[in-house]
């Protein structure tokens, strides 16, 4: 095992996959000699040169479409969209083209594309540089969406994404880029489609994503003091999500809290909640509580008040403990 920062885990994943398969190319703004806006591609230009590390103009729509064409013709592009907020500019490429190419063309094409993008708030980057928009992509058939929250998971999931023959949106969290964690020295993968129980527990199932997994683990410690033992599950893949793991945990705890940083309304938590009420409602002993951001843009200055955190998880967990049917 070794200690590594989240951003370097990304860098290692890209490097290893580019070394393994010469069809893997990196496409994005400032990804060349500068090594990327957040440093994810540092050193890669020197290793792989300007054809494989394609530093593009500020043209998100074109580079996403370009990746679609390149993938249809045998390459395996990794596209960096510098901030998830800029995905708004390339939704046609991602949604109308990339996501649909395989199915709509009658399975004639494979579209192995990874779109990496840092989401999330916490750096006071304001309303246009802090959003978490994963729910949009999960609503689009043809895409897979993963959301790793640790160096271990981001490296393993990014590598799996590169090897996947389908388009995968990898949603990073920019406030986790500096986070350190340990990963194996040797190569490993984290499978797409599997959630991970990050802490076992008996009283309440807390399904969390990305940075909210860390907040939930914090909440877990505080709740322990009060004798409440929660199970923390890191969803990891948003689409297709791991029903089995979540349902079996709910079958054990009979209480569910879902926590994400995105706006709560119409967020990922809604789908998980709805699936539970549709398929295993009678397992529930309490209302399903959701933790998510309030329904306003992310303010520059009140960011801390805006962001969901461990306290919100604690409050939600307690709410589910209040009542029993």
């Amino acid at each position: 095992m070794k200690e590594i920062r989240y951003i370097w885990a990304i860098n290692e994943a890209i490097k290893e996959e580019m070394q393994r398969d010469e069809n893997v190319v990196l496409i994005g703004e400032d990804v060349g000699t500068p090594g990327g806006s957040f440093g994810a591609s540092r050193g890669l230009y020197d290793l792989f040169g300007p054809e494989r590390v394609f530093d593009t103009p500020i043209s998100e729509a074109a580079i996403t479409g370009l990746a679609a064409g390149a993938a249809a013709c045998g390459l395996r592009p990794i596209v960096e969209i510098m901030f998830m907020d800029f995905m708004t500019i390339c939704m046609d490429g991602i949604v109308n083209q990339i996501a649909k190419m395989r199915y709509m063309f009658g399975s004639q094409y494979k579209v192995p594309i990874v779109i990496r993008t840092p989401s999330g708030a916490g750096l006071n980057a304001g309303p246009q540089h802090s959003q978490s928009l994963e729910a949009w992509f999960a609503h689009v058939p043809g895409l897979k969406v993963v959301m790793p929250g640790t160096p271990h998971d981001v490296k393993g999931l990014l590598k799996s994404a590169v090897r996947d023959d389908n388009p995968v949106v990898v949603v990073e969290h920019k406030a986790l880029h500096a986070l350190k964690g340990s990963i194996p020295e040797e190569e490993y993968l984290v499978p797409i489609g599997k959630a991970a129980v990050k802490k076992e527990g008996t009283d309440v199932t807390v399904v969390a994503t990305s940075k909210m997994v860390h907040e939930s683990l914090k909440a877990s410690e505080a709740l322990n003091q009060e004798g409440i033992n929660i199970e923390v599950i890191d969803l990891l893949t948003i689409s297709p999500w791991d029903k089995e793991t979540i349902f079996s945990s709910v079958g054990k705890t009979h209480r569910l809290v879902i926590a994400h940083e995105a706006v709560k309304s119409f967020g990922v938590g809604a789908e998980i909640s709805a699936a539970v009420s549709e398929e295993i409602l009678d397992e529930l002993d309490a209302p399903i509580m959701r933790v998510g951001a309030p329904f306003v843009p992310i303010p520059f200055s009140l960011e801390k008040a805006y962001l969901p955190n461990a306290d919100h998880v604690i409050a939600a967990v307690k709410k589910t403990m209040e009542r029993t049917f």
Binding site: P57, A61, A62, C73, M101, P141, G142
Partner: protein
């Protein structure tokens, strides 16, 4: 560029006739309710796809638009399976999932028609990127209309292709109309080709004459093939019919439509072939019979094909 010989000339002619007759047939069967959805025909514009694609190998790439039948046929798509796709049948190239507006055939390098105006331009650019990356020598041709040049993807893609000197030819068929609106309403410049300068590209203008297009396309394809970078080729083309089949184009003056029809790229070419004694009455008839035959077969094939079964609905979303 080498001037086409007799065999080549007849081939160009036959292909243009094929496209026109296919489109006419499609108008007929569409109007009879045999084809669902909506289709856009390219009657009046047959010269461009045929002339341009005559320079391409099967392995070269091509992307097209909602008005893509001519391009797909010129690139060599199998007529039967093409027709089956438009009929929504399982034997179509895309299992009946795409219809006219998204038809694709990887084996012939056809990256797909596209329902999004401007949507195919970056995709074609990506194919050119892949070909260059893999040093395969493949060239990509990207077709679109003048209306599409007002989309941001046109601008971004040509810029990228130029910096990277990608092996691609951008072909704009300027038929003067985007749906129901004439070019003047949407563009301050008369020539799309004038936009090439913004990307330090050659911008070439040519009239709706198959031999002239053939010549200029040959130069552009050669330029791409030799690694000298992209060209923007504008053909002053003409759309005879409505935007889609069923559009009575009440928004056009009769005079203007007649003007478009007068610019008949097939009739003009045929006259010239006859004048140059490349083609006689019998030759013309032979082509007509041959084309008729193939279209009848294709339509029958499409009619007899099965619709996909409901059980196929969820197939193969992912690999």
């Amino acid at each position: 560029m080498r001037k086409p010989g007799k065999k080549k000339l007849i081939q160009l002619y036959e292909r243009m006739v094929t496209i026109r007759r296919v489109e006419e047939k499609l108008m007929e069967v569409f109007s009879a309710g045999e084809i669902p959805g909506f289709i856009h025909v390219c009657i009046g514009q047959e010269a461009t796809p045929v002339a341009v694609c005559s320079w391409l190998k099967d392995s070269d790439y091509m992307s097209t638009t909602h008005r893509g039948h001519g391009h797909a046929l010129a690139k060599g798509i199998d007529l039967k399976r093409f027709m089956a796709e438009l009929f929504g049948k399982r034997e179509g190239f895309c299992r009946g999932r795409s219809g006219s507006m998204h038809i694709a055939d990887p084996k012939m390098g056809i990256l797909g028609a596209n329902g999004i105006v401007g949507g195919g331009i970056p995709i074609a650019t990506g194919a050119a990127f892949a070909a260059r990356y893999k040093k395969t020598g493949q060239v990509t041709v990207c077709f679109f209309g003048e209306g599409a040049t007002n989309e941001g993807t046109f601008h971004e893609s040509l810029n990228i292709a130029s910096i990277r000197k990608l092996p691609i030819v951008y072909v704009c068929e300027n038929n003067g109309w985007a749906e129901f609106t004439p070019q003047e309403t949407h563009m301050p410049t008369k020539n799309v080709a004038d936009r090439a300068k913004a990307y330090d590209l050659p911008g070439v203008i040519v009239s709706n004459d198959v031999l002239k297009i053939h010549e200029k396309a040959g130069e552009a394809v050669e330029r791409a093939r030799k690694g000298k970078g992209p060209t923007l080729l504008e053909v002053k083309s003409s759309r005879w019919h409505g935007h889609f089949v069923g559009d009575a184009q009440k928004y056009r003056l009769e005079k203007e439509v007649n003007g478009a029809k007068a610019m008949d790229c097939i009739a003009n070419f045929q006259k010239r072939l006859v004048r140059d004694k490349m083609l006689g009455k019998r030759g013309i008839q032979k082509v007509a019979d041959n084309v008729y035959q193939r279209i009848e077969e294709a339509v029958n094939f499409a009619r007899e094909s099965q619709f996909p079964d409901e059980s196929e609905l969820m197939d193969d979303l992912y690999v």
